[in-house]
Symmetry: C2
Subunit: 454 residues, 2 copies
């Protein structure tokens, strides 16, 4: 076979690395289900027309064509309304799924979805062309109570707190607070203000002040107040007084304060130490209609936000209903890639196997099969040795794979001996009762020391 | 949003149906890992060149193109060696993965893989264009012992036996036995004989006899012997004497008998009642080099084989190594589709939620949050009611979703009352100690009565 090479932008894991990815997926699923979210999957393709509704990323879509499509077939690409493309996120498919199945779903609809998405971005930017995304959304029919914003953040905080990561912070802001404050200090249009503040981490305060002057018509005092507002970060409700002290007043500001306070206090009560009111968050405030969230890993700020989302008033609508929602999304492959490449997490072993059952000679392979069966019946993962080589060679086979135990079947029944390959300890045991230490039963994904940084 | 419609050939499940699919995937994963198989995923795309090596299905490949690909980009489709297509099975990607990562894998390499594949087939044939495939393979480097054939069949038998299906039979035959027998009774070339016998279920014995005469030059006696051979089906090693009685003799026949006997006896010992020696199996005997397997569900023979595979001597090779393997594959979406559409399996409820925690008034939502937290800490899935509606309405909310319990928090601490919505029983309980019955903890996927047929 010719020319075997990795494809840039299409990451692929070795078995031990896949254990890290699978662990992240399992944690996401377990926590989401504990909170009553249903798992769904949508097809990988959508009509190109649907995909292009979000015009700004149309460049990134992969279009499909059957290799031998003929004139008149739906997928020759001639008729855009019948052309299919691979989904580039899980939000466009969710909107379509909700409309298509609205009569079969119970609202509010709580769903999680972990699937691969595809974007034809230049892989040299360190971006992937194929990657997992993991989404949590609660979708209402026509209405959705405000407290759902905190609720979805709580679920995500619990997921992030269980991953093998250094400290993660979930930063929250709310549209009403920013918009209300910028109006209160005299800006007519908050959009250019948000756009300027969004550049703060990249260009710094002086350059943002200049932008606020040039693009938003800010006076020196207005620019300084906007920058002071954007520097407010608190882990409790004390941001409110700081906003008022800067001159934030009026109905909209007070509504925003009430909203954000409720989110901060409720998330803090549920998962302490993760939520931060961060009034510098500007990105997405033009799209989201309530609270917005971004999440950062301490020491890995270069990753950018690993989990973002918020409240939107119109996921989808038809002539009968409008579907508002609250959603958060993790760029799972990017996170796993960092976990693996920075050595932040590793499995305790590379294979699921806990016990290698040795084979004395091929004639008695049945004895080894029977011992393995007895162990598996109690949930202990076993392999039977592939050949009746010398025991030393069978031990090396296990050792190379990181299999912690080797079993030597006796001549009759389920009795035998079991050796811990790491310590060399060997003892008599019965396959119907022997139990490995709990920490050896399955590969566990462990966090490395937390002092690694970018 | 315009034109929301299902796409033919791209199945999509409602949340309760997805529970059935997820259950099948979970069982596959659990059993595969119990037998020491590592889970991997490969990227969804391969270079078109690689995909077209199996020439016979090149019509079915979906080719990718970036919507705004430019002249000179790798994916304009102009240069086939740089064009990407979606994988149509998991075998081509496995071959590439093994070659690409051979220095990082331990052989024999035991892997399972559950991923979607895509084929541009006409959906009107009842075929899917996007579907899950679930594969198990053991890959050797240069050599692979014969007993692995039984071993992979045992893992698959255990998976199939745990699915909510009526009786499944795994039918086995081996190439040496068929080829040896046809030579023993005087055929020079076994290929046209296999091709004719493969049509037996569709066209019947008389038509096959005519084909054997016309295409394989069979005498009347040879045709009758070939048909008699193909009618042999036994659940033990007694097929051997039947083959010998029909005139099967010689080294190749005896080798085939020994091989198939070992498979039948070893699988029967491990998972009783599933394996059948079935000498009518002809399909794939030209591709596979040892044992071949097909599997059928009693009463659902119209599904065809739900799980097939066998031994192949050359999955991949380069100038250093050849990689032989044994593999079995389930067409998972097709099976799930039948489970769902025939009502063969259904979840005990549609949502993961076990308990709806009611909310007396919005001011005290924190109490409900705290009760939910205490329950979740012990693995009990909870939702907190979305609104502080009247309790009757909150009970109906739970009932409509199939949530079995509703929790009424007390005014202090974690005490409260819990009501079983099905029986109406209500009792005092504490959220830090109350436990639902084990069968209510999670949705379970249950087999319906087993008398449903095609």
């Amino acid at each position: 076979m010719a020319k075997i090479a990795a494809l840039s932008g299409f990451p692929e894991w070795l078995p031990s690395e896949r254990l890290v990815e699978q662990h992240v997926i399992d944690v996401f699923r377990e926590v989401a289900e504990l909170h009553g979210f249903s798992g769904i999957e949508t097809r990988a393709v959508e009509p190109l027309e649907q995909l292009l509704r979000k015009g700004e990323i149309d460049k990134e879509v992969y279009v499909l064509r059957r290799l031998h499509a003929e004139e008149g077939d739906e997928d020759t690409g001639a008729d855009r309304s019948r052309t299919l493309g691979l989904h580039f996120d899980l939000t466009v498919p969710l909107a379509r799924y909700v409309l298509e199945h609205q009569n079969d779903l119970a609202f509010p609809f709580r769903r999680y979805q972990i699937q691969k998405v595809w974007r034809g971005e230049r892989p040299q930017d360190g971006r992937f062309r194929e990657f997992y995304q993991a989404d949590l959304d609660v979708i209402g029919q026509d209405t959705l109570p405000g407290h759902v914003e905190a609720e979805v953040a709580i679920v995500m905080a619990e997921i992030l707190s269980r991953l093998p990561l250094p400290q993660v912070s979930i930063h929250a802001n709310t549209r009403r607070l920013s918009e209300g404050f910028f109006r209160a200090i005299g800006f007519e249009d908050h959009t250019p203000v948000l756009r300027a503040l969004d550049k703060l981490p990249k260009i710094g305060a002086d350059a943002v002040a200049a932008l606020l002057h040039d693009e938003a018509g800010a006076s020196e005092e207005q620019a300084q107040k906007a920058l002071a507002f954007a520097s407010i970060r608190t882990r409790d409700a004390s941001f409110a007084q700081q906003v008022r002290d800067l001159g934030g007043s009026g109905e909209m500001v007070e509504e925003g304060i009430a909203e954000l306070t409720a989110v901060i206090e409720r998330v803090e009560a549920a998962v302490p130490g993760m939520i931060v009111a961060d009034l510098s968050i500007a990105r997405g405030l033009d799209y989201y209609t309530g609270t917005v969230f971004e999440s950062f890993v301490a020491g890995h700020e270069s990753l950018g936000s690993i989990c973002s989302g918020g409240r939107y008033d119109r996921l989808a609508s038809d002539n009968r209903h409008t579907y508002p929602g609250v959603g958060l999304s993790i760029g799972l492959s990017r996170l796993v890639s960092r976990l693996v490449s920075a050595g932040m997490a590793a499995p305790s072993r590379a294979v699921p196997t806990c016990v290698l059952v040795s084979v004395a000679d091929e004639e008695h392979r049945g004895r080894s099969d029977a011992a393995a069966r007895a162990l598996r019946a109690r949930g202990i993962s076993c392999e039977v040795a592939p050949s009746a080589a010398k025991f030393g060679k069978q031990i090396r086979y296990a050792d190379r794979r990181g299999i912690p135990f080797i079993w030597f079947p006796g001549e009759e029944g389920t009795g035998g001996e079991v050796k811990d390959i790491r310590s060399g300890d060997q003892a008599a045991a019965d396959a119907t009762t022997w139990q490995p230490p709990a920490e050896d039963l399955r590969p566990r994904v462990l966090a490395a020391q937390e002092d690694q940084t970018d």
